[in-house]
Symmetry: C2
């Protein structure tokens, strides 16, 4: 399904969260699609089930997935704009990064291009104009 860098200083569960978000965002994992079970994925990646669970719990708290005891974990039909808190965090993070990028020499048009580039990839299906 994907690969992890076990030697990275970045915690495994964080890598997992990032990768799964990526798959969900890029529509590789579709709404209501079942994710691998905690134990199955742990076996595939040869890491501990608890670590998977930690990642899933984090994804659930961010409303990317939902879990049902006995059934499994599934991709959430994400309510756009519902997660106001997450969205504000996101904006703050973006501002910081943008300021830093401008400082390092990127131009505003460089940044515009970056947005368009990403928007093309994700299909633009998420914009609410």
């Amino acid at each position: 399904m994907f690969e992890l860098d076990l030697r990275s200083r970045k915690p495994i569960y964080e890598q997992l969260v990032d990768k799964l978000k990526e798959l969900i965002i890029n529509d590789v994992l579709r709404v209501d699609e079942k994710l691998p079970s905690v134990r199955t994925l742990a076996q595939q990646l040869t890491i501990n089930p608890n670590t998977i669970q930690k990642a899933y719990r984090e994804l659930e708290s961010q409303a990317y997935i939902y879990s049902i005891k006995g059934k499994g974990s599934f991709v959430n039909a994400l309510a756009k704009n519902e997660n106001v808190e997450e969205l504000e965090k996101m904006k703050d993070e973006l501002k910081k990064l943008i300021a830093e990028a401008l400082f390092l020499g990127l131009s505003t048009s460089d940044l515009y291009s970056l947005i368009d580039e990403v928007d093309d990839v994700v299909g633009g299906g998420y914009t609410n104009d």
Copy 2:
């Protein structure tokens, strides 16, 4: 000078790096201006000098400051576009965040606005058109 959240899960030295970057980027700390000494700042913030040093070392490795033994640490006259490696990292991070932001419901025009907003604050003096 600034405040830290000692209870945060984010390491103190990382908070320090972020805050100091912010001050440098927003021109509060100017080129060649002397930063507080390791020991002074440690005393002001009531944290350990080693923690300050760790932050300063990180800032130095990212070319935001330079340090001279016996004299002090100073804001660097940052060579724009020089730090190619940092810039690529930056772009990758930005792409991830942008994809996530679009997914969470932000529109491309929301993101454009965000860029303009930040650009106004930092004065636009860093764009290389």
